[in-house]
């Protein structure tokens, strides 16, 4: 069974540029998460979807971050414009309501 797929794996952009990350969860998993992970820290939740609905986005900086999960499957996380402080690893995870299964992450570097 395929795991959580994320792309791209790495992205380097200049500040003020837009960037988008894509995630394909494990088939059948109705819950999808986007996390941010800084070096030496645990993952921090940005947004959680139950099917198509964003049920927890309290930690998402809505002035520059947006996300969507069309048809309750794939999801895209966007940052516009990116700031230097956005450099981090962006992780996508999915679950059936219990343990979460993570993708490999996208390492974003903003210069």
């Amino acid at each position: 069974e395929a795991g959580v797929v994320q792309s791209p794996r790495y992205k380097i952009i200049e500040k003020k540029q837009p960037v988008a990350f894509w995630c394909n969860p494990i088939s059948g998993h109705n819950t999808l998460y986007w996390y941010l992970q800084n070096l030496g820290q645990g993952p921090e939740l940005l947004i959680r979807y139950e099917n198509e609905e964003a049920v927890d986005d309290s930690q998402l900086p809505k002035d520059r971050f947006s996300a969507e999960r069309l048809k309750g499957v794939d999801s895209t996380l966007k940052i516009q414009p990116a700031e230097l402080g956005d450099s981090a690893v962006y992780l996508c995870a999915s679950s059936l309501g219990g343990e979460q299964y993570f993708g490999p992450g996208t390492r974003l570097t903003v210069t």
Binding site: P43, G98, Y101, G105
Partner: protein
């Protein structure tokens, strides 16, 4: 405030030298705890779910235990391939869908 604290931050062991990692939490109405392993450049990999105090689970050289206030990940006779960062995560009020992660323990096993 719900909080998960892991100790030590880093641990260096000789191959075969057993030890334990600690995860303590202040989550009201704790309903379980998750352990994950994270290798460099990868997303966290699910290891265990512990649902109630007194529960224990084992996988190869790893054994996870849970009390009312903390969890331990015991590593027996570790090998270099056990080197990784070990994260614990506690579900917050409302269900297993939302968790808070600790900052992890970085384990290095030296041959």
């Amino acid at each position: 405030e719900d909080q998960v604290t892991q100790s030590p931050e880093a641990l260096r062991l000789q191959e075969g030298e057993s030890s334990s990692l600690n995860c303590s939490y202040t989550v009201s109405g704790l309903r379980g705890l998750f352990w994950y392993r994270q290798d460099p450049g990868k997303g966290p990999e699910f290891l265990f779910t512990l649902y109630s105090a007194g529960e224990e689970k084992e996988k190869e050289r790893l054994k996870a235990t849970l009390t009312k206030k903390e969890s331990f990940l015991h590593i027996t006779a570790p090998k270099p391939e056990d080197s990784a960062t070990y994260l614990c995560a506690a579900p917050l009020s409302g269900g297993y869908q939302k968790v808070t992660f600790g900052t992890g323990t970085k384990l290095q096993v030296i041959p």
